[in-house]
């Protein structure tokens, strides 16, 4: 044996290539092939999905509108001390006149005005008014002419806003998204408590999502327990009752609740008929938080039952029997032996329901009225109605961060590979 080892110290394949090299080559080829199979989808997702998310991240901080529309003014403003309490000098006004003449021709000044209006109300009309009259301005003495058009040009606040937002990147949208603002002393502060709409909305989204998650645990646990302890034939049959709503279109379920919960709907009619509620004091079940919680608990309940069921299915009934044979009462055996083993299932289901719930849009929009809406509804509002895309993007980024952290937790607890469908 030592002989062979000395004569051929390296194992080779038949064509003389060392075995190690040959295996490495084959492995590399396999790796490449595996990767090539994934590449089309990877590129597809990168373009159709990841790029849009990256675009949103960019939009939440992007702010080149001031430096693009007023390039000379931004340069001239660099030497002005915004803490001085005085307006900038004549050079800045001259630069502004030149910039605005070009902007007014290209009609970009109104866009700038509405952008700055988010930061300081009144800017939109200021720019529109100035843009109309800047073309007829005379040479020289611009300071006076501008103040003549609108005295806002004579207040340092206007100039502070322009200077503050002249850098191409801004944290302004994020500050607005958490109801904070820059104070004149160059510090940060929260807005007055009656103006804090977004923090309040985030808080409400969390609170309602927690309520929905708890409701799902309370309703889902008994069902999962029953299903996992029944004989297979019966439990498969009952499982249909869980899977059918799960498979039914979201809008079908939402419209069903909209019909059921109306003041003239089936539930109120039944309550009146039974006599629990007087005809003139029908319950207000929809267009408020009650509506959102009821409809969303129904919609998300299968997402709690399915993970719980798959965990409970693996718990052997012998543990409970052993506990009882050693003298534990039914409740004690359940609470000390069975329940602790189902905690991973509760964790998985809760995170899943919570993640889905905080990003919901359709159901709160349709049954939530004004008091039952979520942060997503505000994002949608800023995209399609108020057109403040930067703020929508910033709110979206915050929501996305929360979801990703929870998703990471879910991956740690359950593992993404264990996601099962139906």
């Amino acid at each position: 044996m030592t002989d062979t080892a000395e004569t051929s110290p390296v194992l080779t394949t038949r064509d003389g290539v060392p075995l190690k090299v040959s295996i490495a080559r084959a492995t590399r080829r396999q790796k490449l092939r595996a990767f090539l199979l994934v590449t089309p989808l990877l590129l597809f997702i990168l373009i159709t999905f990841t790029a849009p998310i990256a675009d949103m991240l960019y939009r939440s901080v992007e702010n080149d509108i001031v430096s693009e529309t007023l390039p000379e003014t931004v340069v001239a403003l660099e030497v002005w001390d915004e803490g001085s309490g005085e307006i900038p000098n004549e050079d800045v006004f001259a630069a502004l006149a030149r910039d605005l003449k070009i902007a007014a021709e290209e009609k970009t000044h109104t866009r700038l005005g509405s952008r700055l209006n988010y930061e300081n109300p009144g800017m939109s009309s200021l720019f529109r008014k100035t843009g109309r009259r800047v073309k007829r301005m005379d040479e020289g003495n611009y300071t006076e002419q501008f103040i003549d058009i609108d005295e806002d040009w004579g207040t340092p606040k206007t100039w502070q806003v322009i200077k503050q937002f002249s850098s191409p990147v801004t944290a302004g949208y994020f500050l607005a998204a958490v109801d904070a603002e820059r104070t004149p002393e160059d510090g940060l502060g929260f807005k007055e408590s009656d103006e804090r709409i977004y923090l309040f909305l985030f808080w409400r989204t969390m609170l309602l999502s927690v309520t929905i998650t708890v409701m799902c645990i309370l309703l889902g646990y008994p069902i999962a327990f029953l299903l996992s302890n029944l004989p297979m034939r019966t439990s498969n049959l009952l499982m249909i009752l869980v899977l059918l709503p799960f498979w039914t279109s979201l809008l079908v379920r939402t419209s069903a609740w909209k019909v059921l919960l109306q003041q003239q709907g089936v539930i109120n009619d039944t309550l009146v008929w039974v006599g629990l509620v007087a005809d003139d004091s029908r319950l207000q079940l929809i267009n408020n938080q009650t509506g959102t919680v009821i409809a969303m608990t129904h919609i998300l309940l299968p997402f709690m039952i399915l993970p719980l069921f798959s965990v409970m299915k693996t718990i052997s009934p012998t543990y409970m029997r052993a506990a009882k044979s050693m003298g534990a009462s039914d409740w004690y055996a359940f609470w000390r032996v069975y329940f602790p083993q189902t905690v991973p299932g509760i964790g998985a289901g809760s995170i899943l329901v919570f993640i889905l719930s905080i990003g919901y849009y359709i159901t709160p929009e349709l049954v939530g009225g004004t008091s039952g809406i979520f942060i997503s509804n505000r994002i949608a509002y800023h995209i399609s109605s108020s057109l403040n895309w930067g703020l929508a993007a910033a709110l979206g980024v915050i929501l996305l961060t929360v979801v990703l952290v929870l998703y990471w937790l879910y991956d740690r607890i359950v593992g993404i590979d264990n996601v099962k469908l139906g």
Binding site: I45, R59, L251, V259, D330, I379, G396, L399, G422
Partner: protein, 285 residues
């Protein structure tokens, strides 16, 4: 405790056993009632959303098909249905083709960066729809896809791929790689091996993935609401507008038809699951 009551059960245990069943029955009722109640309501002869006295008396005059007639004759609903059926199959095709290939790649033992790639490919399922919709709206309007048929199809395909990957990967877990080697050994090239050996075995997984992708696109409303223009108005979008503005009982007829579609899908999926398990030599359960 749950399956059957032992003969020696005490009175307390008996009481708890039956009350537990009643509680579960109520929860099942909560789950299924809203889905089922719309079916009889959709046959209402009046424009009401509740049972009329005639309906409760089971008088045939209280029932009618007029809401269904409205659905099949109203141009708004018809164009919405047509749009849904022209978007969903194409999106499904994209999602299934790319997703199946990627799932095969991901299931190979020496796939580099598997978990990172997997996380990226699954992400359309994790990110809340409103955020996907917002990002796509911003980005697609930059590249001119906003408000186009192709834009909606691509977006729906992206949302559907995670489901294809998950279902196909699950079928591939039980796949015997020595079959591929045997085929190669007998002289088949990789393409023949794929279509003659691998594909028939993973087909149930691919089909159920495709069904998931189809239903994702067919039910999707948030993304299409932002990305689509009036020419891409789908059935869920039309329902959404109907529910928000002037709710008409036609919605109940549409909802009933959609429930029928879900039942058909659910049945197909269950049959596919059984077939897949039989092919892989597992006992169906």
């Amino acid at each position: 405790m749950a399956s059957a009551l032992p003969p020696y059960a005490s009175a307390g245990q008996r009481a708890w056993f039956y009350s537990f069943r009643v509680i579960c029955g109520l929860i099942f009722f909560f789950l299924i009632f809203p889905v089922l109640i719309i079916i009889p309501l959709s046959f209402n002869a009046e424009d009401f959303f509740t049972f009329t006295p005639k309906m409760l008396a089971l008088d045939p005059e209280g029932y009618s098909l007029k809401h269904y007639r409205d659905f099949f004759t109203n141009p708004d609903w018809q164009s919405a249905m047509w749009n849904s059926f022209s978007i969903a199959p194409v999106a499904t095709l994209f999602a299934t083709a790319f997703g199946t290939l990627a799932a095969i790649g991901l299931s190979q033992s020496n796939m580099p960066f598997r978990s990172a790639v997997m996380a990226l490919l699954i992400s359309p399922m994790i990110v809340p729809l409103i955020i996907s919709a917002a990002g796509m709206y911003f980005f697609y309007s930059r590249i001119g896809l906003q408000g186009t048929y192709m834009g909606v199809v691509l977006a729906h395909a992206a949302l559907g791929t995670p489901f294809v990957i998950i279902t196909v990967t699950a079928t591939l877990v039980g796949f015997d790689q020595s079959l591929v080697r045997a085929a190669a050994n007998l002289g088949a090239d990789p393409v023949t091996t794929f279509f003659k050996v691998q594909m028939p075995l993973i087909l149930p997984g691919v089909v159920s993935g495709a069904l998931f992708a189809f239903i994702t696109s067919f039910d999707e409303v948030v993304v299409v609401l932002f990305l689509g223009s009036a020419a891409q108005k789908t059935l869920p979008w039309q329902m959404f507008t109907g529910l928000r503005e002037q709710i008409s009982p036609t919605i109940l007829a549409v909802a009933t038809l959609l429930v029928a579609i879900s039942i058909a899908l659910l049945t197909t999926l269950e049959l596919l699951r059984r077939r897949s398990e039989r092919l892989r030599g597992m006992t169906p359960g």
